[in-house]
């Protein structure tokens, strides 16, 4: 991958804009997934219903992955993404590539979660959709930084 999106000069003076925006988006995702994780542990069980709602998603068996809440995995992933993007914003371009790879994995997983909500559980959860939104926004930001010229990065 071409790693000339932003130069080492960025580190000295300015801050690369796209990674900075990406780190802010990651913060939104982080706050959202921390909220979802805590809800997962504290919320009272919700009755299962023929009329499905948001609670269905969080209380579905798919809300956990080998006993770990998906939301907690999300929180960890967003924290790493935030850290990588911020360090990238301050000039570490290698970390921006790693960030990109991580976001591709996250976006793939998010697509799977969206599929589960739509096709298997048959209900959407708004806070899960916010998370999907932040992941895809980060993916778009990464794509822009890769495909746009060097000038547009800063």
């Amino acid at each position: 991958m071409n790693e000339a999106e932003f130069t080492d000069d960025d580190a000295a003076g300015g801050v690369a804009k796209i990674p900075l925006i990406a780190s802010l988006v990651a913060l939104v995702g982080l706050a959202d997934s921390v909220y979802l994780t805590i809800s997962h542990f504290t919320s009272e069980p919700v009755p299962c219903s023929l009329i499905e709602g948001c609670e269905k998603v969080l209380s579905s068996p798919y809300a956990e992955f080998y006993g770990i809440p998906i939301a907690a995995l999300g929180a960890a992933a967003y924290f790493v993404a935030f850290s990588l993007a911020l360090l990238a914003a301050y000039g570490n371009r290698r970390l921006w590539t790693i960030f990109g790879l991580q976001i591709i994995v996250m976006a793939t997983f998010t697509a799977w979660l969206l599929y589960l909500q739509a096709m298997v559980i048959g209900a959407f959860c708004q806070f899960c959709l916010i998370s999907a939104g932040t992941t895809f926004t980060m993916l778009i930001l990464f794509a822009i930084s890769k495909f746009a010229g060097k000038d547009q990065i800063r």
Binding site: S49, P61, S83
Partner: protein, 259 residues
């Protein structure tokens, strides 16, 4: 990463550390506040509104099973606790210990009986709940209904999204001392399905739309009151009422929804 750290100074790392600390502190604070907020709500003991003549509705709904099947306690009890549940429902699994506490608290009380009704919800996420209900009925044919129910609720996470769930259930059947081959045959049999369908018909007639739905003498108990404290309070009141009625008006207090 370390090279860059030196180059860009400690600012980004400081921000990262600050965010980490904020997330931990904020998360902990939010965890505590939401726990303390949700607890009283669950134990709130409010006077519940009683729908008009619920006993009548319950009495008119078709019976789910002959009296004595999936029932604990005295067949002629004045107070009937009826639970409609789905084995793939997380909330049902979470109230299962409550139901067991209630059953043991009133064990031997001739005024109390508990009836379990199958109500597998036909929603995509509950693709195995009908089969699970049939499995407990298959266990019931060997006198192990309650033991199998226990296994299914306690191990819900283990089988609910496992494609080999029938093998897992066969393992439970073996654990609780069942004839596994007969269990497998009964699982495919018509008799067990008819039992589940009968409970479903009763639930539909009572307009059950969610699980767990708990009825005490035909009156639906709000989910927020499905906890040991509230249920015991309601049951005690019903028992007391039944006792005072039978002493004042002679001995004519036939139970409403299973005879």
């Amino acid at each position: 990463m370390k090279k860059e750290k030196k180059k860009s100074g400690g600012l980004p790392l400081s921000i990262i550390a600050l965010v980490f600390v904020l997330v931990v502190i904020g998360g902990f604070w939010f965890y505590n506040t939401s726990r303390s907020a949700s607890r009283p709500a669950a134990n709130r003991a409010t006077a519940t509104s009683t729908p008009a003549s619920p006993q009548q509705t319950a009495a008119n709904a078709p019976l789910g099973a002959p009296v004595g099947v999936n029932m604990l306690g005295s067949p002629s009890a004045a107070v009937t606790v009826e639970e409609f549940a789905d084995y793939q429902c997380g909330a049902c699994a979470s109230v299962h210990p409550t139901m067991k506490e209630i059953q043991s608290a009133y064990a031997g009380n001739r005024n109390f009986r508990f009836i379990f009704r199958h109500y597998p919800l036909s929603i995509p996420a509950h693709d195995k709940s009908y089969d699970a209900a049939v499995a407990t009925e298959a266990a019931g044919l060997q006198g192990k209904f309650w033991q199998m129910q226990d296994q299914l609720f306690r191990n819900q996470q283990a089988w609910t999204s496992n494609p080999n769930y029938r093998e897992i259930w066969a393992g439970y059947a073996e654990n609780i001392g069942m004839d596994v081959e007969k269990f497998k045959t009964d699982l495919a049999g018509l008799q067990t399905k008819q039992r589940v369908d009968a409970d479903l018909a009763r639930g539909r007639a009572l307009s059950v739309t969610s699980t767990p739905t708990v009825l005490i003498n035909g009156r639906q108990i709000p989910f927020s009151e499905v906890n040991t404290t509230s249920l015991r309070r309601i049951i005690d009141a019903e028992i007391q009422q039944a006792a005072s009625q039978s002493t004042s008006a002679g001995s004519n207090s036939t139970t409403v929804n299973a005879k």
